[in-house]
Structure formats: C-alpha cells, structure tokens
Symmetry: C2
Subunit: 239 residues, 2 copies
Amino acid sequence: MSLSKSFQPLYKQAYELLTSRLVNGDWKPSEPLPSEYALAAELGVSQGTVRKALNQMVAENLLDRRQGKGTYVAEHTQESSLFRFFRLREPNGESLIPETKVLSSSRREATAAEKSHLNLEGSSPVVELIRLRYLKGEAAILEKVIQPLSVFPDIDKETELPNSLYTLYQEKFGISIVSVRDELHVTQLPSEYADDLGLAAGAPVLMVERASINIDGRAVEWSQAYCSTEKFVYSVHLK
Amino acid sequence: MSLSKSFQPLYKQAYELLTSRLVNGDWKPSEPLPSEYALAAELGVSQGTVRKALNQMVAENLLDRRQGKGTYVAEHTQESSLFRFFRLREPNGESLIPETKVLSSSRREATAAEKSHLNLEGSSPVVELIRLRYLKGEAAILEKVIQPLSVFPDIDKETELPNSLYTLYQEKFGISIVSVRDELHVTQLPSEYADDLGLAAGAPVLMVERASINIDGRAVEWSQAYCSTEKFVYSVHLK
DNA sequence: CAGTGGTCTAGACCACCTT
DNA sequence: AGGTGGTCTAGACCACTGC
C-alpha cells in the first residue's frame, strides 16, 4: 500500500487514511496501532511523515500515545474525558458528578426540528429519553435526550443506562463523541417538567441545547437540559 | 546565544524563550520575526527545532505564518479574532456586530470580588465602564467592564473607545487578549440597569461573566454582561 | 532571481516499557 | 536486550513572494 504522490501533502493523506480506518473500526479503543515504522512501511512514506499524521490525531483526541508502549485508540469513556464536556459547575467553582434517574423512554417519529439538528431524512424513528439528575440529593437538571434508532439500534432495549451515556455509545454502538455544540438559552420551564424539578411552571431556567458529534463528524445525539436556576453556572475557557 | 542542553527539550526551551520575547514586546504586531534559519543560528539549534517551537506558537494564536513572506506577530485586532470570543448569536444562528454607547466611566477602588478575579492585592484603583450595546437599534446588552489602572494606565482618559476594547488594549497598552474564561448565570436584572435595557427590575436575564486573559496568562479585565432574555443564544463548540 | 516558509527523508541518539 | 515513542539534526526539494 502506498499513498499517491500528488495533490495533498503526504502527512495529510496519511492523516485522512488513518482517521478513516479508525472511524471504520479497524482498531478498537485501548488497542494499540502498529508502530510508526510499521505504518510508514505500509504507507510507503518515512517514519517522520507518519509521526506528523499521528500527532495531529493526538491533538484531536483521537489517539493516545505512551512512550515505550505504543499508540492507542483514545478512550472517550474515562472520567477525564467525560468531565471535558460537563460544563455545569456550582457557583463556587466545584464540579460535581450527578446521580441520574430515568423518568421515561419512548419511541416515536422525529420532529422536524430534531431531523434538522440530527441531519435525518424521511422516516426517522428516535428514542426520547427523559432523565432527572440530582445534585446533593436535590433534583437539579431535567434532560431530554433524542437518539436516532438508525444510529443506536434498539438502544431502548438496554436494561442498564450508565450515568454517562457516552460510555454506552462507545462500548455498545461504536460511537465516539469527540466534540459537542452547545447553545444556551434562558427560557421558561415547560409545565410538564415543573413537578419533576420542584419549580413553578414558567420559572426562568437555563436551557442547554446540545448536539453531540461523532468521530466521523456527524451529529448523533441531540439533547436539551433544563437547569434549576441559580444553583448552577455554565463555565467555559475559550482559547 | 544558545540554549542549555539539559532538563527540557530544546524545542520547548526555544518556545519559552521566543514567547517571553514576544510578551516583552521585542516584536510588534504585524512585524515579521527573523527567519527560521536566523533564529536557529541565534539559538544554536537546527532549523527544524525552531520550526517546532514556532508552530506551537501558531497553534496558540500567538503568531501568523505566511509562506514565502515570513512569520508575523498575530493581530488580535482583526475581525476574525474579535468574533472568536463573541459567542452571542441570534436564535437563528446569525452573528451580529453590535453598536455601542458608553453610559458611564468612573474610577474607584476594586471590590474584594474584583481583586480576587483580577489577582490584585492592596490598593487597586480600577475603572468601571458601563456600556450599552444595541442590536438592530434595540438596547440588548448591558456591559460592566472592570479595568485595573495598573494594567491600563489612564485608560479613562481615552477620548475614543472602539467598539471592541481588545483593539484598544493591544494598540495602546500592549495587552493581547488570547483567551477568555466565561461563566454563564441566569440572574435577575439589577434594578439600576432596568431602565437602560427597557426591562422590569428583577426580570430573568442571561449574565455572562468574563475574565479576559493576556498573552502572559494574567487576567487583565473582568466584565459582566446582562443580556436581554430570549433575544440571544450563547453558542459554543467544545472540542 | 533570492529569500521565505512547507514538506519529506534518513539516520542518530535518548527515554521508557516489557520480557 | 529489543521494541516503542520522543528529540534533534542536516540536507534536499517544493511553493510562494517580491524585487
């Protein structure tokens, strides 16, 4: 196997090829890739060129490299990764892992808005999952999660939902969430969620609308989280 | 001049040295740095090592490189850079540059909270600047900006405040804002700002609290922006 | 044309891990 | 000891810019 010597820099071609293999599932999470020299020989380029491609993938959180051991598919299920996208903090800056209770889970056809956010067309059955998250024993966040069945077949048949769904996505469905797009709104709490959160219908709440992006760039999950006002802060460092 | 051959990788030492020179103001914005070979000779390392250091600085938005021309100090005053930190969007996704009116500007001693956010100690005079931003002719955002006089001497003597203060910071005070830390709260609109925004005192608003970070890592400005509810969305892509 | 950054190679040596 | 990634070098060639 060798890369074409035209159009694109070799390291970029190598990056594209290796990324598409990773997306295809050629290597499983926590499994080592071939060594730099092995990949270089296979692609017909020098070790330095492969290294440049691999380092770019490390920068994008797709790979993990450990000196003396090897290059591994990144684990997006570890605590450090899960915290990466959990931006809600207590006003004093502390970060808390919430407890979670599933309120309901149902299949239905996607709404127009959901189809547009998830790039779905035609008949698109989805699962709507409603969860309540507790902090310090108090109901704090109500989450509505939309999962397309085309991406997560029979996900509503899962008996045990982990606290972080991303773990389930990676282990059971081969979906690696590498980035998220958040939109924050101040809205009035919908009346159907008022009792669950112990607030009045129409109370002002922070609503975090999130599209979760798979390693291949597709939005594969869409969620809305209603957060009890003044208990939380959404905190971000933009570089 | 040459780097010590111990402790740290050479490219990292080169990065530290070049960054500190940049922070010191050895090279002004839009001015070219010496060429890779010139820097390599000066530091006593190879061109490839200098390149690695320079590329890291490019990744951090400190430098700009143009093939065939040279390596330049990044301009943080360009539209593309200013938009980078302006996360407020219309609900339909459009981004707008607001008009701005200064409501007041006054000197006073920093409060305890301001000292803590800006890492100030002892006597710390600051300027409190209150601005109202309009979108489509309507009052939309009320901004309270705290500027330490130790960082921005006599900034309240400036006759003309640009729409984006960061331009002024870089051109007049040698301060380059390279990152920001935002905290989003849902709060009640303080009564003293109610008239300006045309809302009732206590109305629920989105409050964006921002610390702006200089190239040397210091928080040099602290601001709070009260945003008229339901006209805006705060939008972020986390990678 | 000369000067700049961008790519690619080949080889040397080091640091770390496993056996 | 042998394999892995990490650093560093020197040199070649390419692509773009400006004179």
